[in-house]
């Protein structure tokens, strides 16, 4: 019975292969986009984790030379012999084969767990330790290095690209750094009774584990964006699947009735349908995962470059297959199918056994249904507004996104119906009138595809707005923060004084970066003392401020506070803020992107008054000739080149990064629009057969088939264009939700939003192009329909 039932159900698909294709392709594409984005995310995260683990910065405190220079090996031995459990790491770069290789030398015997995570088997450790010259690197890195006669490279996974891990002895010889150590990793568990650091190694400074770095914050932000994009793409796919399942359900009503009438219990029928859908979900999910893998593999080099440039985070440009990722993708495919089939299933469960066998796959826009849809949509959009106003937390942020998306999607048919009715009323000619009316009649059949297009467009508008806003903000922020042409740092306060003296003669202005750790409204933070200079007045912008914030600062009657702290403590301009003994009114609040901690700025004089012991070791130097100044600093002052940061270089890197981010975003834009276009194509093809009875009378009364085809194409374009009219505002609201709500909840700072009309125009054109391409084939098919097919509509007789 069950088998016969399943056979009967499946026979529908062999008779309607196009529908089967729609269903599978929709689900596969949805899974592909989602899993592709997830794979990119997972890969990037795994790469940072690997990088952080191999170097141990994230987990362990470090000892470094106070002067930033190398640590003598004897200091390491002295520390060990005093009971300090530290492990040496030597880092440096060397040109090995074709690669400028980062070399990390470790001592596996003293390294705490997780440092130098390379799989050493017993047999290898001897070779690793005793100078046989073993280096571990990823297979990809090894391949790029090429032949190296003196060195043995062994492949390993889970370490950063362009990094080789080797024994410290080998590293010392490769880097020509005999007896030198870059830093010492401090094991978390230390024995009792060890003497203080100053006693053993006064030249070293202890640095806490860098678990909460700026980099992590910014990359998290980037990944959150990508995840949101993946989610939106998946929603698009689910709309397609929902449409396909709904159609298949309608078309099989008669079969359901027959099956039930012949004795198949409803429960079994639902079970069979569920089994069928699970089968499809697994097949489509697997295909989707393969596609997603391809998408990720294609985009990953760009993403890798983006993150490398932006955050200095090395991530591999190649994709590793992860089992967990595959399983999660299948789960998503199954979940998505379940989600998409809820409606059809519940309808089936309620279906009376002798309900009308032939459903109305085609119906006039039911005003009752539209009204319900409108009510639900308005309720959801109101809920979204409520969440935006009163909600807090990331869950609320994502609920807001969800409510906006679903509310927007449900509103689309209502809005389109209104627009098309208006068009019909305003139409002058008879053909135009028919065209509007007929278009309106297509809405129920096309609305799922159009919703998919809406979501794709909205997602694109939203993400593009967000990325572009991010770019503008970040570049503006860099301009503000990196206003000086050159930044230099010294190891000691004494060096700082000497440098300031030297620089005062050679640079146009010296801006010491004075800072002290302090308590800011009950939060740990840093206070800076800013010199009175035009650089600050000219370059700094504030999120909110009094009219002349810098004047207040330099008069000692004001303080500047970063946005994070202001938000956390609900402080605004004019509120008092206490630093040490003194209290200042807040004169301005500034954006401080990527910084997880509190920050405030006072004038240099006020700062020195409060923190007399603070001395500057970092300086911003203003100059009209940065190259000459750099040269002088290196040649005449003897500053290490590594202590000089050239502002132009940093900006160039940042710009390059954003271009790559755009490349990724553009690629994803095109992909989602392609998916939506596909949804339209499938809907049109499905409708084509049912449309003949609507078109045949028009043809019979004097329109050519060619004209009908042309109208079909124009109709798709019109619907796409109208959909984008809804999509652009929805996308902008989405971007706002991402920037102003989700970002604040996740990271504590709000990114200002900018609008990009040209970008939206381009997206609209792309959407119309997608719709036109999707309609081209059905339109052509219609234009070439044999007259006999049309005539068959009118009569069973020839």
């Amino acid at each position: 019975m069950m088998r016969a039932g399943l056979q009967a159900l499946l026979s529908h698909w062999t008779r309607n292969p196009l529908q089967l294709f729609t269903l599978l392709a929709g689900l596969a594409l949805a899974t592909a986009l989602w899993s592709g984005v997830q794979a990119i995310n997972a890969e990037a995260r795994a790469s940072y984790d690997a990088a952080a683990q191999t170097l141990g910065e994230a987990r362990y405190a470090q000892l470094r030379g106070a002067d930033g220079g190398p640590i003598p090996q004897q200091t390491y031995i002295d520390l060990r012999r005093a009971g300090w459990l530290v492990s040496p790491v030597l880092e440096g770069r060397a040109q090995i084969g074709a690669v400028d290789l980062r070399i990390a030398g470790i001592d596996p015997l003293t390294a705490p767990p997780g440092v130098g995570t390379i799989a050493l088997t017993n047999g290898e450790i001897g070779d690793f330790l005793t100078g046989a010259g073993q280096l571990f690197a990823t297979p990809d890195t090894i391949a790029r290095i090429g032949e190296t006669p003196d060195l043995t490279f062994l492949p390993t996974d889970g370490i950063a690209p362009d990094l080789a891990i080797t024994d410290i002895g080998i590293a010392q010889s490769l880097l020509n750094a005999e007896g030198e150590i870059t830093r010492l990793v401090v094991t978390s568990a230390q024995p009792l009774g060890r003497p203080p650091l100053e006693q053993i190694a006064p030249d070293l400074v202890l640095m806490a584990p860098q678990t909460d770095t700026d980099m992590a914050q910014l990359t998290d932000s980037f990944h959150l964006n990508l995840t949101a994009f993946g989610l939106l793409s998946f929603a698009v796919g689910i709309f397609i699947v929902n449409g396909a399942i709904g159609l298949a359900f309608e078309q099989r009503r008669q079969m359901f009735r027959t099956l039930r009438a012949t004795g198949l219990p409803l429960r079994n029928l639902i079970g069979l349908l569920a089994a069928e859908l699970i089968l499809f979900a697994l097949v489509a999910g697997t295909i989707g995962m393969a596609l997603g893998y391809l998408i990720a593999a294609a985009l990953l080099p760009d993403v890798a470059a983006t993150l490398r440039g932006l955050y200095g985070a090395d991530i591999a440009g190649t994709l590793t297959f992860r089992g967990g990722w595959f399983v999660s993708g299948l789960v998503i495919a199954l979940g998505g199918t379940a989600l998409a089939s809820i409606g059809a299933m519940s309808k089936l469960a309620r279906l009376p056994i002798l309900a009308a066998g032939q459903g109305r796959a085609w119906a006039m826009v039911s005003s009752a249904r539209l009204r319900i849809q409108a009510i639900v949509s308005v309720a959801l959009l109101l809920a979204a507004a409520g969440i935006a106003a009163f909600g807090s937390g990331l869950i609320a942020g994502f609920s807001l996104l969800g409510a906006l998306l679903i509310g927007g999607a449900l509103a689309l048919p209502v809005i389109l119906d209104l627009l098309l009715s208006a068009g019909e009323r305003l139409a002058k000619g008879v053909t135009a009138q028919w065209f509007w009316a007929d278009t309106r009649q297509q809405l129920p059949g096309l609305s799922l595809a159009l919703m998919a297009l809406l979501l794709a467009m909205a997602a694109n508008v939203g993400v593009s707005t967000m990325v572009s806003s991010f770019r503008l903000t970040f570049i503006g922020f860099l301009d503000q923060r990196l206003a000086s042409e050159i930044y230099v740092s010294t190891e000691t306060a004494e060096g700082g004084r000497l440098l300031e003296e030297f620089a005062t003669e050679h640079a146009d202005a010296v801006l010491p970066i004075l800072s002290a750790e302090t308590d800011l409204a009950g939060l740990p933070g840093t206070v800076f003392g800013a010199r009175d200079h035009a650089t600050y007045r000219d370059n700094w912008t504030f999120l909110s401020s009094i009219s002349n914030p810098w004047e207040a600062i330099h008069a000692g009657t004001g303080i500047l506070l970063n946005e994070q702290t202001a938000r956390k403590r609900e402080l605004s301009v004019g509120d008092p803020l206490t630093i040490g003994e003194a209290t200042f009114p807040i004169a301005g609040i500034y954006g401080d992107y990527g910084n997880p901690t509190g920050q405030a700025i006072l004038s240099e004089a006020t700062f020195r008054g409060l923190f007399p012991e603070a001395e500057a070791t970092r300086f911003g130097l203003r100059t009209s000739d940065p190259d000459a100044l750099q040269e002088a600093l290196i040649q005449d002052f003897g500053l290490d080149a590594g202590a000089i940061i050239d502002q132009a270089g940093i900006k160039a890197i940042s710009l390059d990064v954003f271009e790559r981010t755009f490349a990724v975003t553009t690629a994803l834009n095109i992909l989602t629009l392609a998916v939506a276009g596909f949804a339209i194509l499938m809907s049109l093809l499905t409708l084509a057969g049912m449309r003949l009875p609507q078109l045949a009378p028009v043809w019979a009364q004097g329109l050519t088939r060619r004209a009908l085809g042309r109208y079909e194409l124009i109709r798709a374009l019109l619907l796409a264009a109208l959909t984008t009219l809804v999509a652009i505002p929805l996308g902008i609201v989405l971007a706002w939700a991402l920037l102003a709500v989700v970002n604040v909840e996740a990271f504590g700072w709000k990114l200002p939003m900018y609008l990009f009309p040209l970008l939206y125009l381009r997206l609209t054109l792309l959407a119309c192009l997608a719709a036109a391409l999707a309609a081209l084939w059905p339109a052509r098919k219609l234009a070439r329909t044999p007259a006999a097919h049309l005539l068959k509509v009118f009569s069973n007789e020839r």
Partner: protein, 346 residues
Amino acid sequence: MNVKALAVAICLAAPATGQGFAGLGTEVDGFSVPQPNPAFDFPADHGAHPDYRIEWWYITANLDGADGVEYGLQWTLFRSALAPEDGTGWDTPQLWMGHAAITTPTDHFVAERLGRGGVGQAGVIADPFDAWIDDWSLSGPDFDTLRMTATGEGFAYNVDLTATGPLVFQGDRGFSVKSSEGQASYYYSQPFFEVEGTLTLPEGDVAVTGSAWLDREWSSQPLGENQTGWDWFSLSFDTGEKLMGFLLHEGEDTSYTSATWIEPDGTSTPYPNGAFAAEPLEITDVGGRDVPTRWQVALPDRGVDVTVSAMNPQAWMATSVPYWEGPVHIEGSHTGRGYLEMTGYE
């Protein structure tokens, strides 16, 4: 005999052949091999022998605290050579491992240190004697007067050792055979140390006194290929006599035993395979492993028939190569205290 020490040390270096315990039953390539009739050269032989694969300085102590509590102490430095060479620099093929422990009736504190030879992190100098790894050391003007220190997470100790008797040579004048196939090591002991010093525990410092037993052993392949572990006893009877005995596991039910009887004046008598017997009486679950923690030990030739019980059955050494090591109480024909070490119970 502390063969386990070899095991632990060599595990760092030896290929995992799957034979014996921790790769001990492997071939000797390029390393010197102990020969019968050794002629020791002191104090030089207290120092390291880099041309032998494995070596250790192994001290166990039974102590009484001023707080009335009984303590056990362990300090071990293992040397393991990847190649029979010495030198300076990171590529020196000499690896070092230290184990330290304090056992109380209720607690067992363990620490392990690993280090490279050639850079000064660990090593042994014969005269004046200095053995160290990191901040742990065993050193003194001569081998009879030593200070022993170690630290770990939650514990530390600093004790002075003073020898009250001569060195005792195990086996045939210090040539100790480890299997019926003839594998052997150089092995001598100083079982007559008196101890005085301080233990630092989470509760605070405790002054302690008692006795210690030092083992020196080096070899290149001390175990037969079928030997998978051992039980080693160092027993100090209240009569002043001492017994060192071990039982090497050979397959399921067979074993190879060896023992040395030590008179209070240091006169020693070696016993061949079969003279010494030890049978488990009680098995304790130690972190999921079945470990015998009460033994019937006999050396009939000397009228010894005693029960040996662990002071703290949970004295598990959770180190790179784990084993059981802790103080024991002796009852029966003789009474006294001692140390028990058991390997191969993983």
